[in-house]
Every structure is written in structure tokens, then in C-alpha cells.
């Protein structure tokens, strides 16, 4: 996992609630190997026509948003299917942070495993951000994971919460598995007692 301390980039506004993981990565791409560039599958059904040509109206196809590496969205972003492929699509396209009032629980967890930071801000602050991005397309914002702040297009700053352990993993680019494996003896002793209690 690549470390992420701070990112400053174009932010893509998705002014729509309940953007589900079927939209982010349609199910027909679940059969693709992880070695594929999943960025090609990001929002595929609304981004490309059947012949592969771009749908010009779709926001990601507009020149001012192509370099987006941050997404701002309305509530319940990433709801639905547990497919980690949705996060892989965002990641491979270059997205490193998503800002929304709330996230699908599984999607949020998947983000943290892949070096994407899910930033929760209050609904009114996200609304202000979406309005600001709509008013100045292609505007840059910043997400600073170390300082736990978002810098809006107008330079104003909003704080956000993140679990200390998740923050540590994102900032250092570590995953949980090595850490858990170092606790194997605790798992083994728990399992012995657990099996004893469930005979």
C-alpha cells in the first residue's frame, strides 16, 4: 500500500446521494484480474458508450476534471455490493481521497485497505464544498491526513476524524495483516478456549 500523508489535487464533485459500487465498477468487471488497470472500468457505464467512446456529458470526461484525484460526493457513497473492485477502480484512476457526509460501511473499510482515505464531513460542509467545486470547475483542494484537515477551494480549513490505527496505516502505507500475524499466539489461545466452550 502506498503511503499517503497529504494530497492536493483537482476535486471531482459527484452531486448525487447513494452512489453505489455497481455504478463505480459494474459487476461485469469482477471477472477481471487485479493486474488490470481498473481505472478503465471506473464509472464505465456512464462514462463510455458501448463502442468504448466517451460520453462527453459525464463529469469525469470534462477536461477540467480529468486530473481529479479527490472526489466529493453526497451521502452514502459506496453503498451496496462489497466489491473491493470499486476501490481498485478509484485507486487505479488515481483517486486518493473521497469526501462525503457518510459512506457504505464495507466500502469505507475497503478504502482504508487500499490507501484511499474516506473523509467524513458534516452534510452542510460537503454541500458548501460541492457548490464551491461547481462554481469553479477544476479547483484544487487538499486532504491532509497527518493534520486531519481538508483545505477547501477558498482556502478555508475543515477538520475531520479518522481512527488512529487507520491513520497510521494510511500515512505509513502499512496493512493490518502483518500486525495481526504478530498476535497469532493470542488467536491460538482464544481458539482453544472457544472450542472448549462450544463442545
Amino acid at each position: 500500500m502506498e503511503p499517503l500523508q497529504r494530497i492536493e489535487a483537482v476535486a471531482l464533485p459527484i452531486a448525487q446521494p447513494n452512489c453505489d459500487t455497481d455504478q463505480i465498477t459494474p459487476a461485469r468487471f469482477l471477472q477481471k484480474p487485479r493486474s488490470d488497470d481498473f481505472g478503465r472500468y471506473l464509472f464505465a457505464d456512464v462514462r463510455f458508450r458501448a463502442d468504448g467512446s466517451e460520453i462527453p456529458d459525464f463529469i469525469l470526461n470534462r477536461p477540467e476534471y480529468r486530473a481529479a484525484r479527490i472526489i466529493a460526493a453526497e451521502r452514502n457513497f459506496g453503498c451496496g455490493s462489497s466489491r473491493e473492485h470499486a476501490v481498485w477502480s478509484l485507486h487505479d484512476y488515481g483517486i486518493r481521497a473521497v469526501i462525503a457526509p457518510s459512506f457504505g460501511d464495507i466500502f469505507r473499510s475497503n478504502c482504508l485497505k487500499n490507501g484511499l482515505v474516506p473523509v467524513v464531513l458534516p452534510e452542510d460542509e460537503v454541500k458548501a464544498l460541492l457548490d464551491g467545486l461547481a462554481a469553479s470547475p477544476g479547483a484544487h483542494i487538499a486532504v491532509d491526513v497527518v493534520e486531519q484537515v481538508v483545505v477547501f477551494p477558498d482556502g478555508s480549513v475543515r477538520g475531520f476524524d479518522i481512527d488512529p490505527f487507520a491513520k497510521h496505516c494510511i500515512v505509513q502505507g502499512l496493512d493490518e495483516l502483518d500486525y495481526t500475524l504478530s498476535q497469532s499466539s493470542a488467536i491460538e489461545s482464544f481458539e482453544r478456549d472457544y472450542d472448549e466452550r462450544h463442545r
Binding site: Q16, P17, N18, S81, E84, S102, N114, H168, T180, R199
Partner: protein, 488 residues
Amino acid sequence: MPRLRLRTKGNTVDHSANHTPRTMLDTIWDSHRILSRDDGQDLLFVDRHFIHDVTEPAFRMLRDRGLAPRSPGRIFGTPDHYVPTHSRKATAINDPERRTMIEALTRDARGADITVFGLGDPRQGIVHVVGPEQGLSLPGMIIVCADSHTSTHGAVGALAFGIGATEVGHALATQSLWQRRPGRMRVSVDGTLGAGVTAKDVILAIIAKIGVAGAVGHAIEYAGSAIRGLSMEGRLTLCNMSIEAGGRVGFVAPDDTTFAYLAGRPYAPKEAAWDRAVARWRRLASDPDAVFDREVTLDASEIAPMVTWGTTPEDALPITGRVPDPDAAPTAERRETMSRALAYMGLTPGTPLEEVPVDRVFIGSCTNGRIEDLRSAAGIVKGRKVAAGVDAWVVPGSEPVRAQAEAEGLDLVFKTAGFEWRYAGCSMCLATNGDTVAAGQRCASTSNRNFVGRQGVGARTHLMSPAMAAAAAVTGRLSDVRRLMAGA
């Protein structure tokens, strides 16, 4: 690791007097807690891990790190997403990538001594149908699977939740997962359900009430007399769609209905072990005075047969309703969302839902592919014909369901009426195996998601119960099943 302190938990659950009232969520959670981190996450022991034919990336992650599954005896698999439903032969899959997904499951499981009910095995089916059916999903368990509809298994009184590929790798390697305890939410449905009203209508009514984000961050405990009155299969339908309300976990306290369902299942405990297990399971239910972070109540008698009109499961209305008008929406944002949904769905505001014609009918999925679902649909279909121009399918949720239905003659009821009778798999619910709804076609579906493109690019999905889907098949439009019941 900075600032990281661990506490090893005592392993016994305190059932002594003078404790604060406990919820079932807390009881199961605490009995699986191996370690706690000071950021509030707990390492939970996983009793049961189900795998399927989209688990390949997780096995690859393990191989890349030189790791193997830690506890193969606790892991069971079956292919479902990519299996063909017109044949039981992998050679019938024309797409090599899809075939590879099934072959990868077989290879990865065999290499790790994991039991798989493969294509052609009489126990194969959709993983969320197979688990309870085989007695692999039991009360008090923590169950995980790389699929958001893992919440289904909560119906037996387990904490069951969907996870992503990286978490699958973690669970395979350590038989445990780091999780933050969700909020406690109770959804109570009291009273008596009317004729023609099923568990599917109950859960659609719940989602319509609380919204698709209504339970985000929470585990839902379903309670109340109408829930206790549901069969186990009804409870499986109910818990299945918890995730459509944003709840990763949904469950029902185990009771005599649960125990009667599980008794004698192939992997359920036997004889003295069964008796000891039931005694333990009876202690799982929430205390009567347990406190929940959120409470929602519904009156069962007010729930009608439901149908969705839009592109999220909260866009649901009684079948007696009309296509809603965005101009009547409470906010500009909602107006825009509704307009976009209606444009995609090809619907005109004000149209009676019963006048909406359908092209396709899909009866199946982990939501509604069980034997009671097929009996319910067959009861409506019997003596009738699929309407002209409608392509109607029944895809049993598992091969045991298919065999049972055939033993009861339900396959003949469907086939005589003009339905296609298929083999078990996820099929048209998410169309990964090639069973798709064509662009612009309208499908009456017993599945769980009416998302844009879910059943195929441009497909229009209306969610409903099996009986309602059967009614749509024979009338050729969305229909109030109550008018077709008992010869009405």
C-alpha cells in the same frame, strides 16, 4: 505501531446477576473478542468463512505473501456468481474469464483442504442459500463472506457480514478480523401481516421508511410479533436486505422456529452436542430491558405488497400506488434524484403502478430463491400462463431447492405455464454469468437491488416478492397479487 495498546479479553461471558441489560449483538461480539485496540477496534474470531467464485483475488494476495488459509475446516465454498444456469458443465461457459473464476475456486480450495460444493455437486447453490441449508450457519456464530448479502445468515441468530477482498485475505490467514462495534438498532414489526404480504414486503417497507442509508454504522436486530411469526425462510429474506438499508449486519434472535429449521441439517450438531448447543443458543437473545441506540417500529397490518419504481431499494411503494411525481418532492435534491431515476426507468409520474408492463420476470437470488419462495410463486402461476411477450425465469437458489421443487412438481407448474426452469446460481440478480436483462427491458425481479445497470446495461428492475413476480408474469404487468389469490 505508535500509541497502540492491546488488552486481552477474558474469554467467558458473564451471565451472572446484576449485570447491565445486554443486547444480542453485545453477547455475540464479546464472546468472539480476542483482543481490543485502544482505537476502539476489536479483533474478532470468525467461526465460519464462506467463499465463492469471486474470492480469487484474496487467495492471490495470500500466495503473494507466502501464506495459506489458517483454519480450512472453518471455511466452506460454492461457486455461484459465474455458474451457468442452463447447464451444469463448466464447458458450457463460453467466456474464458468466467470459467477461470470457477476453476480458481476449485484450485484454491483444493490446495488448502477447504470443502467446496462445486458445479455439479448436489449441494451447490448461492452461498447464502447453501450455508443455512447445510447447517453451516448456526446461532451465535460470527460469519463472514466476500459478499454484502452475507447479512442473510443473521436469520439463524448469527452476526454475519460482508467483507472486501483484503479482509477476506485477512480472515483466511488469521481466522479473525478487526472490527469496530456497530451501533445497536432495533427494528420492531408488530401485528399480523395481511394476505399476500411476505417478508420481502416487510423489508421493502422498512427500507422505504428508513432509507438506504438508514442503518449505516448499525447492526439491525429485527424484533416484534410479526418477525417472530416469520418462517426461517422469511427471516432469511428479511436479513438478506439489511445491507440495502445500509446495515452491514441484520439478525433475528434464535427461537424454536430456528431450532426446528436447523435440527438434522448435515453440519448442525447432533444428539447430545445438539442439546448443549440449543441450551447455549437460548441465552443469546437480547435482555427484555436492553437499550438500543436507535429504535424503529412498523405496524405489520399497514404493510401492503410492495414494488420498487426507482433505482434504489428505498424507492418502494405499495402496488396500489402510482409512479411518484418529482415535482412533489420535499427538496430540490430529491426532485433531481427522482427525475433521474424515472428517466432511467422510463416511467411517467402519476401512472398507476399496476399499469406498468414487464418484459422479463426473474424469480430467484439469495433473497428469494428458497423452496417457500418457489411454492408461493407456483401457487399464483398454477392454472395460468405466462403473458404473451414476457420471458419468465425461475432460478432456484440451490440444487437442493431445485430437487425439492421437482419432487413437489413445482417445476412442472412453472414449465407448463411457460416459465424457464433453470439450475441454481446468482444468475440475473447481478448478471455476472451472462444471464442479463437487455437495455430498456423491464424486469419484475425477486432480487435485492434495482441499481442502474444491475441486471444488465440499461436494464430496468422492479423489486418485489415471488408471488408478486409470479403475478406480473401471468398478467404481463406489475399486479397486486391479492387479486390473483384464491381464484379471485
